[in-house]
Amino acid sequence: MATQPAKIPARTSTAALYPWRSMGISILGMVVVWGVVQWLSQSGVLNLFITQTLVIMGINVILAVSLNLITGVTGQLVLGHAAFMGLGCYFAAILTYKMGLPFPVGLIGGGLVAGLGGLVIGLPTLRLRGDYLAIATLGFGEILRIVYQNWDYVGGAVGMSPPQLANWTWVFWLAVLSVLIIWHLVDSSHGRALQAIRENEIAAEAVGVATTRHKVTAFIIGAFFAGIAGGLYGFYNYAFQPSSFDFLHSFNILVLVVLGGLGSITGSIVGAVVVTALQAALQSYPYIQNVIFALLLILMMLFRRQGLLGRYEFHLSMIFPGLRREEKGGHSDGARS
């Protein structure tokens, strides 16, 4: 079996030569993006509205990428992602604002509670078939919302008004970190196992993938990052209510993922950026904007089911060929059963 490989376009080579150069340039690029925005908004060139939009973009990127891990990569339709976000937001606020712990502790604590929520919700429901899972997660989200509404300690229906502790720097770097971690995860044996569950659960089980455990783990990780996004949301916006985390918000997150392309991490980033920008541009016409997004969602399903990017991953090497890393499966039309 030690014959010379004829043509192996694969990772053996890249594994040996971990792309330090590519990583260096990526980090440099991100520092530049962060710094430019930071500088422009500090110096007042970017007005508050644009800065706000960029922050929301970052939060939406975390939400979209984390939902994509569950729905796009693992194939489990979840209609309660905003509920995980809500758990993170509420518990970050409780830990920081009510109990006086430092903000980073509250943020991570909120993420962990959301992850725990993912475990509690995922264990029983992930045995259910696709559409039942969707409706069960929606139900859990609504139950949580009603609990917050009746919980005076966290402000009941009025919600809470924590101080603004999150800012562009926090959101940007946490978004980068979330994307990187989830990307790495998808591109690993565990990530392949998750995709196998999406493709054919029975075959995945037959080749030794512990399907339930993997689904629950994907759920926990997705919920954790949604919780982080929730904490950032609450501590950037000054205020949040139970209704901030209802199932309409869950639908909105799903729209980001679907428009970007189920299963494509870069697609989710593009989806989050494009939709947030459009929402900001149309914010004087909130209702018409919603009609447009609903129509877009329907048309996307009818005519370009794979989303903007499909499962295709966009990489810097497409602009700078010197950064070549690895080629993935290529185009796909997103059809599966």
Binding site: M1, T3, P5, A6, K7, I8, P9, A10, R11, T12, A15, A16, Y18, I181, H184, L185, S188, S189, H190, G191, R192, A193, Q195, A196, E199, N200, I202, A203, A204, E205, A206, V207, G208, V209, A210, T211, T217, I221, R311, E327, K328, G329, G330, S332, R336
Partner: protein
Amino acid sequence: MEPVLELEQVSIQFGGLKAVSDVDLRVESQELVGLIGPNGAGKTTIFNLITGVYEPTNGTLRYLGAPMHAPTHRLAQMGIARTFQNIRLFGQLTVLENVLIAMHGHVSYGWFDAMLRTPRYWRTEAAMEEEAIALLRRFGLETHAQDQARNLPYGSQRLLEIARALAVHPKLLLLDEPAAGMNAQESADLVQLIRTVAHDFDLAVLLIEHDMSVVMNLCERIYVLDYGAVIAQGPPEEIRQNPKVIEAYLGEEAEQAIADH
């Protein structure tokens, strides 16, 4: 030496229907065993029992001498691999990924290694990929390594199912109609391939097949199943001549098929 697989008086009932009744079956180590019978005789149900998809209503299954009580994926990790009659590949993933996924049960790095890309991640990935490519080369699929599995021609998809099953590191390989849809030449090549693979990987094989030439050429022993019960078993020559098999169940077509070989 104890048999790799042993079924003792195994039955399963769905509602009022007894799909498999009182089946005794053994597969010795390195043995190639055939399982034949008309459609609906319960062959695939036996595979589902062996792989833990179904629980038997009665009887015991033993694997390497120990009773089997584990979920499907555990049994796979313990060395029971299978292919499917209706091909079940991971269609949108690449050929290489299909094989890599089957090695996941033995993967030595954890979720955090993956998220943080530790050295262990890189080492393991490289080793897995090398093994997967070697396996694909054996089946002549290495040039398709980066193609989507569903774009492979039908015959190659069947081969990939076998390659994927081998990536599980099995001791027992269950093949569900591997020659279905293949022409005579392809079937003959398949027989040769299964024989060498079984020898090289030290496998016991249990094979469901309708193509009599494949079964008769490959198998050392054959079980004949009808209405969920074993009606005959023995080496191919015996089965070929067993009047009970020919008359009561295989019918004239099969007689013809057997006579042809």
